[in-house]
């Protein structure tokens, strides 16, 4: 299992595509940090949990797309042809799928780390600010549920029809265009710009209202369930 995981990581992360993806992510991150985050949101500092959350929300569509792209490594035509061999091995499909998901998740987490690391460098270089501990909670709340959900839902869709993964990549863009209720504000980033203003104090500490917590937990739970629900080997008919 660990060997499969290591090999899948190698396949997913040690190639030109991943390097390109990381470069695009870093470039976009720099644009967001220098163009938007630097101004701060809701009258707070650029390094406040709110502004950092806003930065992550802006990065989220790219992270989502990147994570789903990693999944396409398992659903491409080439991968499906190789699956003829791997399906004939005694490795239980659930274990095999988990090892592969773990590798894709590692890729997603690595991209996330790049994003957050870039922000940390930005904060240090621009403001000499290093209080990263306060940013952990917004990072977890913003990124973890959608990434786990991306993985779970992406895996399922990729097994159904590989092209559905590409359609699914557009989901965050669609969410950004839709007027979402307040509880789903983390899904399009509006939460970070509006909620602190409603707290009535200047530079409020980071808190999450119950409906938002519930929505994120739901997303996380759903993602985890989908992730656990491994599918039948591709192409097997009855």
């Amino acid at each position: 299992m660990s060997k499969i995981y290591r090999y899948e990581c190698r396949r997913l992360l040690w190639n030109k595509f991943f390097v390109g993806l990381a470069a695009v992510l870093l470039l976009y991150g720099a644009l967001v940090l220098h163009g938007a985050t630097i101004l701060g949101v809701a009258h707070t500092a650029p390094f406040s949990p709110w502004s950092f959350g806003d930065y992550l929300s802006r990065m989220l569509p790219l992270l989502w797309i990147g994570t789903l792209f990693l999944l396409t490594f398992f659903t491409s035509g080439r991968a499906r042809r190789a699956a003829v061999l791997t399906d004939a091995t005694p490795m239980p499909p659930r274990t095999y799928a988990l090892a592969r998901c773990a590798a894709a998740l590692t890729g997603g987490l690595l991209l996330t780390l790049l994003c957050t690391g870039e922000a940390a460098v930005f904060y240090g270089r621009m403001f000499g600010w290093y209080g990263w501990g306060s940013l952990a909670l917004p990072a977890l709340a913003t990124l973890l549920p959608p990434l786990i959900f991306a993985m779970g839902s992406g895996w399922l869709l990729g097994q159904l029809r590989p092209w559905l993964l590409y359609v699914w990549m557009a989901a965050p863009l669609l969410l950004a265009a839709l007027p979402l209720p307040e509880a789903l504000g983390l899904w399009n980033g509006s939460f970070f710009t509006t909620y602190p203003l409603s707290l009535g104090t200047l530079d409020p500490g980071f808190t999450l209202p119950v409906p938002v917590i519930a929505a994120q937990l739901l997303l996380l739970g759903l993602g985890a369930v989908l992730l656990m629900k491994t599918s039948k080997p591709a192409g097997r008919l009855r």
Binding site: R78, R81, V84, L85, T86, D87, A88, M91, L237
Partner: protein
Amino acid sequence: MELKIQNVTMTYPSGKQALKGLNLELKSPSLIGLLGPNGAGKSTLMKLLVTALLPTGGCILADGKPLARAERTLKANLGYLPQDFGLFDELSVTQFLDYMAALKGLPNPKAAIQEVIAAVNLEEKAKAKIRTLSGGQRQRVGIAQALLGDPSLLIFDEPTVGLDPEERIHFRNLFSRTAQNRLVLLSTHIIEDVQSVCDQIVVIHRGQILFTGTPEELIQSAAGHVGAFYAQEAAQERGLHITARVNTGKGVRCRAVADVLPAFAQVEEPTLEDAYLYLISREAAR
């Protein structure tokens, strides 16, 4: 290892019936050649045997247990080379085999990998990335992964495609050696391969078994139905199935199979190819 195929039917969602009430028993040690024209159902049968497909009717028993329930046990003892397969191009040959060894759960992968790499003559390319290999070399990697872990059931679908004659002989002998204590199922179009190594032959046509038995039995079945004649002697060739034409000093000498040979044809000793063609042509005429 013993495989029993009982009244197996396979109909694809498109409605195409690939296998019709197939019955067959395969026992180790044996090297079985699976013959049949394109679209006869050979690959479907192989996919059913490796549980890549599930039959729409009938059942397959592996050592007495239904395959659906004994899937893990079967796969733990299975080496499979499909006709059309992909490899992870970004890995080296050794890495790919290591990956497959991990999937097969081999306890000592290193030795097993070295062994199969040597068996398929790929030592020089062991560290090369798969994307740099030629078509024949890729085919050999496919064979190597099937041999990994010394499985007791080996299923090869067209394994010698893309190999040069020397390699083909090498693999023919390898399969023959391997089959001494295992069950090896070999599907191929190359009758020569079957003739030299297989101890049993199964001929499938249009989803049904036309023949099971030894190569000698198949050859015997065509005795008296193979004839030779010069092209100019033949008043008409109707009812004849020409299997070869050879230019000789006296003209074009034809070899043909038929239920009833014409008078101008001189009866000849059948080969396995003649017998196979006779079997298929007779079935086609029906």
